[in-house]
Symmetry: C2
Subunit: 151 residues, 2 copies
Amino acid sequence: MARAPAADLLKIDHLLCFALYSAGHAFTRLYKPLLDPLGLTYPQFLVMIALWENDGQTVSEIGDKLLLESSTLTPLLKRLETAGLIKRTRDKDDERVVRITLTRQGLALKDKAASIPETIGCATSLTIGDVKKLASEIKTLRQKLQTALAA
Amino acid sequence: MARAPAADLLKIDHLLCFALYSAGHAFTRLYKPLLDPLGLTYPQFLVMIALWENDGQTVSEIGDKLLLESSTLTPLLKRLETAGLIKRTRDKDDERVVRITLTRQGLALKDKAASIPETIGCATSLTIGDVKKLASEIKTLRQKLQTALAA
DNA sequence: GCGATTTATATCGCGCACGATATAATCGTT
DNA sequence: AACGATTATATCGTGCGCGATATAAATCGC
């Protein structure tokens, strides 16, 4: 149970951050053929999920949920608007705020997307329990990283 | 123990892919202040680690290790060359191949980087054992995703 | 009620990340 | 030897993702 020497920590295969980095990309690649027919990229898909969950959110609220900056979201949301999936409207009470609402098409897309998580789930060949456990562990890790960053 | 209804699978907080996506970004943000003094971005750092582990690799070998395409690596490697950390030389025996070797500066940077994983490790407030276990689970997941993609 | 500060979104520049394609070198078959 | 197929890297266009900055609206202090 000796401590690993510092040198060993600088190996790609030992780095937790690289495991996350590469698994994240692998997920994106796996989603692509499923999202292409919907005309969505993977980050756009995440934004749509956030809106299907709760329509009419502001840009910041979406950013808080997905941990993205306005510099990322504003162009992405404009592309979704151009695609006819959402509408961007300035809040009447506070003109600084932009509220994002689903169009009929945007809402309808939810049905087509409904089967995607299950398809992906099968590809992982993990049980629902395993997926939940792993997701929760990674979420906890992310929260710790966020806390560390804020400190 | 009933199966979760399909609707629940389309919630951001339940998605394993989003956990990975956001934790990956959180890691990158945490690394940034540590890598800035070295003049490296996070993906560049990964490439340097791969080279410190094994100098003189070809572009494809690095791509295989990090799961990146030449369209990503070529510009990145050119930036590392401009920064004076690596040298790109065509292989004498096979002129198609570009071999990447560390310069003296590139090699020297390893010492400055040596303490980074430990600093990050502290930020996660996980034991070495937990980190290893989680990294290995995520790596297994990534392998399953890759397998699914190839199929 | 007016200037200073804060807040919400937008813009810009840079660096990934990838698919599609291009180019050039090597290999295999004949 | 020649030619078609394969391989390694490079190039291009699109879309993130972020830090720094800009802009405009709301709020605070007085």
